[in-house]
Symmetry: C2
DNA sequence: CGCTCACTTGACGTTGCTCAAACCGAGTGG
DNA sequence: CCACTCGGTTTGAGCAACGTCAAGTGAGCG
């Protein structure tokens, strides 16, 4: 709907360069590519399109999602600065990608990427590692969607975001949520109303505190962990031996 | 329990044997490994264990699953003959694997596998392709869990099984379900009761017919497709242009 | 024969979805 | 400065799908 908003592609010379030394990490490949800008809402590519390029997110946030038959949307992930999208693809994109905020990306041709990977002994394992991480994330998401309650989903989500924020040097416990409630809902398999209600409930319990319009402060991290229903850092007290007795689902 | 019901596998020698030369496909690597047997219910490995081996399923079915903090179990997939498990792993298994039926597997050391892959130009792409398929499957599952109703999940599941059965040469529309209802429930994010009720409802609608104790006959494939809520083979009538208006969730 | 285990069926309760209205901050225009 | 709109968000009331609990069935097996 909105992708015809200015594409200023800078006519990037795809994989010029590579002068000098062998690249020894994936990011290195992108380093010399020109930066392209996307405005909020603009599409980067569509599910089903021929996957001719990989992208590195330089700045901003994107959502990747699928639309299914009856118009329902499923967001399968968010992309942040430093992420690379398109590694896990064969010939066609499995999902669409859209900028949530204004965004900068770098582009690399898939063909060139493949040959770079084939020719460098360093790159193969890194690609592989990224795929594994992606797979692990997908599995975590399946766990979340399979059997977590609304509140648990929200808490899990917020903890993930917190972890990212902290790992990026955010010292105070503030997480930014540039995406809309609808994005969060479509990501967690809930509705906007349920997302909203859950967050309200958590703030009224004193676990969260609102900060400005699109940020939250985590007041009680431990409570968040408990409510997330994950075994994140709960003592590993031998539950693995307990077998699979049925427990309440929510 | 039931799994020794006739397996007539014809002992399909997958891709006839390539003796001598470099292995040019993954299955080839496993061909010379001894077959190990698992009885129904036996574990192959556990989530968190060091991932020292990959396995090829020669015969039988396994479930792969995670147990989360409060004892809940999530089945992330089933493994069938020809599947290879362990490709998408770094150092530790992401999930546990258990035989559902009596099962035969072959084992290959991870270290040897990695060096084989590194040394063969043919294997790398195949590993990559398998990872991509795994990723695509995980995404489909996320879609299913995110926003499909109980009946849609069951129909989607049955269609997948039907597709597999047909692709393995099963001519009549009969699908075998050696796993228990609990397995199906834990795979689809439902309860056994809901699974049971949905199947009953589908048989009473004439879409399915029971065959023996653990098989189902698909009477109306098209109905199953419609009820599955996927865009599997519904005409691609431009829904992609329709944007993301909200539609009922169930 | 009677046990067990998987499954089915029924009655009931709760979570989270639906529908609807109110709210609020950011623009925009007077 | 205010009035107005417009998205995104919050809040409330009602309802339905699905989970929970419990009882009943039927096949396999000692």
């Amino acid at each position: 709907m909105l992708q015809r908003a200015n594409f200023h592609y800078d006519k990037q010379i795809n994989n010029a360069v590579l002068l000098g030394s062998e690249p020894n990490c994936i990011q290195e490949l992108f380093r010399r590519q020109p930066v392209e800008r996307l405005v909020a809402g603009q599409s980067l590519f569509f599910e089903g399109d021929a996957a001719k390029h990989l992208f590195e997110v330089v700045e901003g946030i994107l959502r990747i999602f699928k639309i299914i038959s009856n118009g329902r949307r499923v967001i399968t992930g968010f992309l942040h600065a430093g992420d690379i999208v398109g590694v896990s693809l064969k010939d066609h994109y499995l999902y669409s990608a859209e900028a949530i905020t204004d965004t900068k990306v770098r582009r690399f041709s898939r063909k060139a990427f493949d040959s770079e990977v084939a020719s460098s002994p360093e790159l193969g394992p890194e690609v592989f590692a990224r795929l594994c991480d992606e797979m692990a994330a997908a599995q975590d998401q399946m766990v979340l969607l399979s059997c977590k309650s609304a509140e648990e989903r929200i808490c899990t989500f917020l903890l993930r975001e917190l972890l990212r924020a902290v790992s990026e040097g955010q010292a105070d416990f503030v997480i930014e949520l540039p995406m809309t409630r609808l994005d969060i809902a479509d990501y967690l398999g809930l509705t906007i109303e349920t997302v909203s209600r859950s967050i309200t409930k958590l703030t009224s319990k004193g676990v969260l505190a609102p900060v400005g319009r699109h940020s939250l402060r985590v007041v009680k991290r431990s409570a968040l962990v408990q409510l997330s229903g994950s075994d994140d850092e709960s003592a590993g007290d031998g539950w693995k031996l307990a077998g699979c007795e049925r427990r309440p689902r929510h």
